[in-house]
């Protein structure tokens, strides 16, 4: 197309005058640019806006934003913070890039194509909410509340999750943070010490740090890392059990190159050694534990030699570790882990960690497991209602017993997924995904697709067009953590030995939301109104919610702002064992459910011939798939090279930097390729890569196809028998180079 005249000529002709008059008839009268009423505003200079709380990961460091003319220029740690202080990590800094990511969702959209192969059309909020409300209401009317399943994740998903659980009444809610991550840890510790452990070990003041698979340094949470580094600086010894020479293993005094899946056997042998050699804390065991005899009896088969064989490590090294722990007890920090859904035998491993801490007497003492005493701030939300267990998949209705006696809150993912796909015991017909990307968090992508295809209606709420959003019928854009009020963050000073202080802060927007992004209260309430629950709505706005929560401690948004975003008050001494505290070394209740009452090693499937076990972990500059489209972080780490043992690589003809794909033991091939990192720092029987790469959604223009999506290769399901959580490291792969599948030598 070309216009056969020049602009200047055209503008000079009488034709323009004739043509331009009708033009104005079809334009709207108003413009977005208007004459200033007053003097030219000019630039207001840089402003420091307080009240930010990071959510590039879930550690939630406290931020301030440097804002110029309404634009967020830079994020920094809030100087008033007694947690992260002025420090934030690379991901925290890169929040600016998430905020202004061109690919971010901006308006409500309707899929006028197919699920999985969408054609998006921008629609109004009214149309989007009407559609969500009526489709979800239809599901409830036709199939009951249980006809809706919900996959939530993150701070903004709490309020809608409570709505669907409490007001609507579905039990079919599955949070990835529980069922594919840390839920096992929490319920195992609750079953042992009555409390979820967090990562509450007193690292700065410990004498020995004991990590099973924790790779701090690659897994970065600012104040946690500060604690860790302080501990090492103060001379703490570090023991790291990991099949890989991780960032932590590189700093370790003892690196235990353990065979994957055998960690519980390893800990049982350490505990048995301590018991057999009278090197445990007798006084603590006497005063604060229950079931010691049965526990000791149950683990006594685990000699150093037996464990050495099972774990493929030297017996002398197990002894060395046990001696080091005993010599420094009770000031030893046994890390409870964070992402712990590994092999489907994880409840027992977590129990073993909790019991090991117990027999070393390392609870509530300097350098042990010590929960800081933080302030309690009220949690306003939807009112709890009893919806019975008739449609609760957690219950086996013949026996009226729980299917998984120690499942974390919600319903295990596979109970929901199987029911949704099969329609048994009842139909599930609508799916709400809020901030979670089940395509890259839940094993077996085909089953996830089958679930979505079985739905009458799918809605997704997110900030980015992650892989799962391609399966939505309606896609709603959410305000990010930098643009909304929301989470109340509380805690104490990061080093427990320092002056006892507590802090209270609340997430406040650093800039207003752009485009038509809305927060969770607006979206949930509008849907609730359309589903007939208007009378139950607990708060009208996010500000109201935050203010009501803060009011329980005599604070308000206004007061917090006046205090630079963080309220600090005197704290309490966290050391000293509470009277009622007890470690259940042998737990009768667990035994009554038919599971082992003392920590027990359950072997995991071995590698099929020619395959390596696929291990994955966290990258220091990415937070799973949440940050894969962030241009700064992508530049820092564009893909996820696969670690291959140097001897294995030499045998199969791989060199550093080779490009490879994968095929797993079930015949599933990776859609993309990555490069090889040849290293002596990994066992021969496994390969390793960072999790959260290789997005399949082309809407993620930076992250699409960058590296390999490890979750796509995790197709074999392992489910932890006590908790119903997934185990995700029982999948095995071969590498493919130039189209040739390479067998991994035994």
């Amino acid at each position: 197309m070309a216009f056969n005249l020049t602009r200047r000529k055209f503008l000079q002709t009488a034709t323009l005058a004739a043509a331009s008059v009708p033009l104005s008839k079809v334009v709207s009268a108003s413009t977005g640019v208007t004459k200033s009423a007053l003097d030219t505003p000019g630039t207001a200079g840089d402003q420091t806006v307080v009240g930010g709380i990071c959510e590039m990961c879930f550690w939630r460091c406290q931020l301030v934003g440097k804002v110029r003319d309404g634009r967020l220029m830079k994020l920094e740690g809030n100087p008033k913070s007694i947690d992260n202080g002025t420090a934030i990590c690379a991901r925290g800094n890169a929040g600016v890039k998430l905020l202004y990511d061109v690919d971010r969702l901006k308006y409500p959209m309707k899929n006028v194509g197919k699920r999985g192969a969408p054609k998006w059309k921008r629609i109004s909020w009214k149309e989007a909410l009407d559609e969500c409300g009526s489709k979800l209401k239809n599901t409830v009317d036709q199939y009951g509340a249980q006809g809706i399943c919900v996959f939530p994740h993150g701070a903004s998903a709490k309020y809608p999750m409570h709505y669907f659980e409490r007001a609507v009444g579905t039990h079919n809610v599955s949070e990835a943070s529980f069922f594919q991550c840390r839920g096992i840890r929490d319920t195992a510790y609750v079953a042992t010490i009555g409390k979820a452990p967090g990562e509450k070990i007193d690292m700065p003041n410990t004498k020995v740090l004991f990590f099973i698979g924790d790779h701090l340094g690659e897994n970065i949470h600012v104040s946690h890392i500060k604690q860790y580094i302080q501990g090492l600086q103060n001379g703490a010894k570090l023991i790291v059990a990991d099949p890989r020479f991780s960032a932590s293993a590189a700093k370790a005094d003892i690196w235990v190159q353990i065979k994957p899946g055998t960690d519980t056997a390893y800990m049982l042998a350490i505990m048995n050694y301590l018991v057999q050699n009278d090197k445990y804390d007798k006084e603590f065991v006497e005063d604060h534990t229950d079931g010691f005899e049965q526990f000791a009896e149950s683990i006594k088969e685990w000699t150093l030699e037996k464990a050495a064989k099972e774990c493929d490590i030297p017996a002398a090294q197990i002894k060395e570790v046990a001696e080091m722990l005993a010599a420094n007890a009770p000031n030893v920090a046994i890390h409870p882990g964070r992402h712990v859904s590994w092999h489907g035998n994880d409840f027992q491993r977590e129990r073993a960690l909790a019991c090991l801490t117990g027999i070393l007497g390392a609870y509530y003492v300097k350098g042990g497991w010590v929960p800081a005493k933080g302030p309690k701030v009220g949690g306003v939300s939807w009112k709890k209602e009893d919806h019975g267990h008739k449609y609760d998949l957690n219950y086996d209705h013949h026996e009226d017993e729980k299917v998984y006696p120690y499942n974390p809150p919600g319903t295990p993912t596979d109970l929901i997924r199987d029911c949704a796909i099969s329609g048994k015991p009842y139909p599930i017909k609508s799916c709400v995904v809020w901030g979670q990307n089940p395509m890259q968090t839940i094993p077996n992508q085909q089953m996830m697709k089958d679930l979505f295809n079985a739905m009458d209606f799918v809605m997704c709420v997110d900030v980015m067009p992650t892989d799962v959003t391609a399966w939505a019928d309606i896609l709603l854009p959410e305000a990010s953590y930098l643009e909304r009020y929301d989470y109340i963050k509380t805690g104490t000073q990061w080093d427990l030995s320092k002056e006892h202080q507590q802090y209270i802060s609340a997430r406040m927007p650093l800039v207003p939301p752009m485009f038509e992004r809305k927060d969770q209260i607006y979206i949930t309430n509008e849907i609730a109104k359309r589903m007939g629950h208007e009378a139950k709505i607990p708060v009208k706005t996010m500000e109201e919610m935050v203010d009501k929560n803060l009011a329980t401690v005599n604070l308000s948004i206004e007061k917090l702002k006046a205090e630079d975003g963080i309220h600090i008050q005197p704290g309490k001494d966290p050391y000293g064992i509470p009277e009622e505290f007890e470690v259940r070394l042998f737990n009768e209740d667990i035994a009554d459910t038919g599971h082992p009452g003392a920590p027990t090693y359950i072997p995991v499937p071995d590698n099929p011939k020619g395959f390596a076990r696929l291990l994955y972990g966290r990258a220091p500059v990415h937070t799973f798939n949440r940050s894969q489209n962030n241009v700064w972080l992508h530049n820092a780490m564009p893909d996820n090279p696969v670690w291959v043992n140097d001897e294995v690589a030499a045998k199969i003809g791989l060199i550093d930097g080779d490009t490879v794909g994968f095929v797993n033991s079930e015949g599933v091939e990776s859609a993309t390729t990555t490069t090889v990192k040849v290293t002596a720092g990994i066992r021969k029987d496994c390969v390793y890569m960072y999790h959260g790469f290789g997005s399949a959604n082309p809407l993620m223009t930076i992250g699409v196809g960058a590296g390999v999506d490890d979750t796509s290769l995790i197709t074999k399901l392992a489910v932890d028998p006590e908790t119903g959580c997934h185990g995700m490291r029982n999948n095995f792969v071969k590498l493919i180079k130039n189209g040739k599948v390479l067998d991994i030598p035994a």
Binding site: M1, F3, N4, L5, T6, R7, R8, K9, L11, T15, L16, A17, A18, A19, S20, P22, L23, S24, V26, V27, S28, A29, S30, T31, G32, V33, T34, K35, S36, T40, P41, T43, R68, D69, R71, L72, K97, L99, Y100, D101, V102, D103, L105, K106, Y107, M109, K119, W120, K121, R122, P465, A470, M514, F515, V631, P698, L699, M700, T701, V704
Partner: protein, 196 residues
């Protein structure tokens, strides 16, 4: 907020072009609108372009939905990826709200204008065209020229070919070409090379 019709010819043209870039909606994208567009293309000796648009519109059950899907894919979120976000700083800073957006806003301020609260980002194509129309109203031709040169053309010349290449619907191909035509500087002989 200004609530008047543009008062001179070039101001009307800018405002019309800005209107064409609004999200398609039955309210304004009606027969009258298309007739005006076709006539306008006629005055530019581009009847063929009008025919192409008319054909695309007549050969479908829901012309507005087609254009909405196309608009979403080209300018908002699309598969395989958004083709051409209509914001200057995406091209100049590889980000929304980059310093280029700040410079654009600063320019508005120096001319005594500000963004309405409900407006999109300052460097959105629509607002830039609206701003140009307001300058034209005030007969601030040097301001118009300076803005085009410093803050409009540098990104528009990257945006324009992306749309031309990526558009499935002739409407947006034609509209971006029209915008190009009315904003492009000609060389001293008045000769305008055709980039399309």
């Amino acid at each position: 907020m200004l609530d008047t019709e543009p008062s001179n010819d070039i101001a009307r043209v800018y405002r019309f072009l800005a209107q064409c870039m609004q999200y398609p909606d039955q309210e304004w994208m009606n027969d009258e609108f298309f007739n005006v567009l076709y006539n306008f293309l006629g005055t530019l000796d581009a009847v063929e372009d009008g025919i192409a648009i008319k054909k695309a519109i007549d050969n479908t059950d829901d012309a507005i939905e087609d254009l909405q899907v196309e608009y979403t894919r080209l300018f908002i979120n699309g598969v395989p990826h958004v083709v051409a976000p209509p914001y200057g700083s995406v091209y100049m800073d590889q980000s929304l709200q980059g310093t280029f957006a700040g410079d654009t806003l600063a320019f508005y301020h120096t001319k005594g204008f500000e963004m309405d609260k409900s407006a999109d980002l300052p460097d959105h194509l629509i607002h830039e065209l609206e701003f140009l129309s307001l300058l034209a109203e005030e007969n601030d031709f040097s301001g118009e020229e300076e803005f085009l040169k410093k803050l409009f053309r540098p990104w528009y010349k990257k945006f324009h070919p992306r749309v031309t290449k990526g558009a499935h619907h002739p409407f947006y191909r034609v509209v971006v070409q029209l915008i190009d035509f009315f904003t492009k500087e000609e060389d001293k002989d008045g000769f305008q090379p055709n980039e399309a």
